[in-house]
């Protein structure tokens, strides 16, 4: 008890200690007295980096879409014009845009359909260690190398690859041939067809769809489902009337990723797919081989505008809470 003896018996130490002195003491007192100063000091480096390097670059890009290219010399004419946007609306380019948007929509739809059972099972039935395992089972493919994942599908879809072999064993080779003979979706083998591009897209973006749907479903109380079946709804009706509306924000949140990522990708269609261009490939080609930076810049505005509308719609559906 001696250290904690009554204060009165110990004489009076001053109540207020002096500043600890030196630069550290002075700075510490200054930060305490002026919290705004500390805040500005903390925010300055990240804001300078992101605000100047990143936003600056984006603006520079946007600006270039209003320049034009001289068709004879190939030099960039730095004068404000809407000519490049006119070029963007040529039939060939509109084709590219439509093709990309249709692909993005189909990929999103397929991802949602495949993701839902996984997310539902993980949210509703998985417990304890199983839950952790499910989580990792989605996280590991999400984070494993993008290129390796694309490469894996190149292996699988190759003419001499495992899928052809498997279908042959099942005596379904004719089905594959019939599918490949179809216009648009077919090709000489799956790895050079639009179907192959589609499968690779779905595979690579699927985890981005599972996680938000699971997050949305975690928030649905299980007794809602019980209440619905208690009131006489069939499982199908319960799904349509209860689960789907409540999971919708999650689906929309996930679709932001699948849609946006598909719109901007140029590597998957380059490795697995036909020679028909997607927006990303067009941008890459225009800025690279063609050297037409203004048109490339104008092309990038397309996904930005589409995603702008998409995000605006998603926000109205409350999808951001599920991110």
């Amino acid at each position: 008890m001696n250290r904690l003896a009554p204060v009165a018996a110990q004489g009076h130490a001053p109540v207020m200690a002096p500043s600890s002195g030196g630069l550290r003491g002075a700075l510490s007192d200054l930060f305490w007295r002026r919290p705004r100063f500390l805040l500005v000091l903390m925010l300055a480096p990240p804001l300078l980096w992101l605000g100047i390097v990143y936003i600056g670059s984006l603006f520079a890009l946007l600006l270039q879409s209003f320049f034009s290219i001289d068709e004879f010399s190939g030099l960039i004419n730095r004068q404000f014009t809407l000519k490049t946007y006119g070029d963007l609306l040529q039939a060939a380019n509109v084709d590219i845009i439509v093709r990309t948007v249709v692909m993005a929509a189909l990929v999103t739809l397929a991802s949602a359909i495949i993701a839902f059972p996984i997310a539902y099972y993980a949210a509703r039935y998985a417990r304890g260690r199983w839950k952790a395992l499910f989580y990792l089972a989605v996280m590991l493919p999400l984070w494993s190398s993008y290129l390796v994942k694309v490469y894996a599908w190149k292996l699988i879809l190759a003419k001499e690859g495992i899928l052809t072999w498997l279908l042959g064993k099942l005596h379904l080779g004719w089905l594959l041939d019939a599918w490949l003979a179809l216009p648009y979706v077919g090709g000489s083998s799956l790895s050079v067809s639009a179907t192959g591009t589609f499968i690779a897209f779905v595979y690579v973006w699927l985890p981005f769809m599972i996680l938000p749907i699971q997050a949305a479903l975690e928030r649905v109380p299980a007794n809602l489902v019980e209440a619905s079946s208690d009131l006489g709804a069939s499982p199908g009706q319960t799904f349509r009337n209860i689960l789907l509306p409540l999971a919708l924000p999650g689906v929309v949140a996930g679709s932001i990723f699948t849609f946006s990522l598909t719109l901007g990708d140029y590597i998957i269609p380059q490795i697995i797919g036909t020679s028909r261009l997607f927006i990303g490939m067009a941008v890459y080609a225009q800025q690279g081989t063609a050297g037409n930076i203004p048109l490339a810049a104008a092309f990038t505005v397309v996904p930005i505008v589409i995603m702008g509308f998409y995000l605006w719609g998603a926000k109205r559906l409350g999808a951001f809470d599920a991110l």
């Binding site: 904690l4 009554p6 204060v7 110990q10 001053p14 109540v15 207020m16 510490s28 007295r33």
Partner: protein, 332 residues
């Protein structure tokens, strides 16, 4: 004698909100002082002003005669027991208690010895190696107390110290805190919204409402002679009597208060007194609480359990001793 804590017209504004509004306050050295009030009444802001987490918008604060404005909390020899205890989750109990000595540069052996002593003082000897997460609510509170006391603060601040504990533990801790404060002779300032806690532990109580102090006094003064309707209403269950009613009994047109236990309930209606109708009865264990309607005025009376009660709806006569009718400062 210098006050332990002295507020001179202290205000603290948050934007347009006056959390603390021109408060004058003096806390004597060695006093167990309670700040009582509903949430948002400014009592916690006052505590944070003493600790140094907030700075006054105007007015001045001194602690043992030394000016406190502009002095950061880490340079004040004042310590706080937080409402959520705020134990560091990454440190064990001993390191938690020794934290204050560690940052002051006290050597390892000495600070651990002091921390062990402080733990013994709060009756948790040998708990040093545990993690805060392994302790019960009551034990965490004792650790928080030891962590503050080991620094030998001149003023100890307690923010709703018993709020998170269950009833039995709370009563136990009330006695223990009181005994500890007596033994250490440190000035304790504690904030609570529980009037029972304030009245039973404190030497003096300040009742807060809307950023102002309504009344300061001993628990007896606060309980028996509330200065305003708010105090009478908030501290316990007094009947508040309107000026017209008070005028009939005292000749003064002022608000009055009357403790429920001061009211006698008579079943005869011929007697002189206040006519009332019994509305309902509530059994409280040792006492029974009666709700009465006196011509539109709702009154409460408590009678010992076991007396024969009138039936609900029955007319009764209420009487009381004139000296039990307390006239408040608040006029009509």
């Amino acid at each position: 004698m210098t006050s332990a804590v002295s507020f001179t017209r202290v205000s603290r504004y948050f934007g347009a909100v006056r959390a603390v509004d021109a408060v004058d306050l003096d806390i004597a050295p060695g006093e167990f002082f309670a700040m009582l009030g509903p949430s948002g009444s400014g009592k916690t802001t006052c505590l944070r002003l003493i600790a140094g987490f907030e700075q006054p918008s105007s007015g001045s604060i001194s602690i043992f005669g030394e000016r406190a404005e502009g002095v950061p909390p880490y340079r004040r020899n004042v310590n706080t027991v937080f409402q959520d205890y705020a134990l560091f989750p990454h440190l064990n109990v001993l390191d938690n208690v020794a934290y204050g000595l560690m940052v002051k540069g006290v050597g390892r052996a000495e600070r651990y010895r002091a921390a062990e002593e402080a733990l013994a003082l709060v009756r948790l000897p040998g708990y040093g190696t545990r993690r805060p997460g392994e302790l019960s609510g009551g034990q965490r509170q004792r650790v928080a107390l030891a962590r503050a006391l080991v620094n030998r603060p001149r003023v100890l601040l307690l923010d709703e110290p018993l709020g998170a504990l269950d009833l039995k533990l709370r009563e136990e801790m009330q006695e223990e805190l009181k005994a500890l404060q007596k033994a250490l002779a440190i000035t304790f300032v504690f904030v609570t919204h529980d009037q029972g806690e304030a009245l039973s532990m404190a030497d003096r109580v300040a009742v807060f409402n809307e950023g102002r102090i309504m009344q300061v006094g001993t628990p007896q003064e606060i309980y028996q002679r509330p200065a305003t309707r708010f105090v009478a209403d908030f501290v316990g269950s007094s009947n508040i009597l309107p000026p017209d009613f008070v005028y009939r009994w005292s000749g003064q047109k002022r608000w009055g208060s009357l403790r429920p236990e001061a009211i006698r309930v008579n079943r005869s209606v011929n007697q002189e007194g206040v006519r009332a109708r019994l509305v309902s009865t509530n059994y409280l264990g040792a006492m029974i609480r009666l709700a009465l309607d006196a011509d539109g005025l709702r009154l409460h009376a408590t009678v010992p359990a076991g007396v024969v009660l009138p039936a609900e709806g029955e007319l009764v006569t209420l009487t009381f001793n004139r000296e039990n009718l307390h006239l408040m400062e608040e006029g009509a």
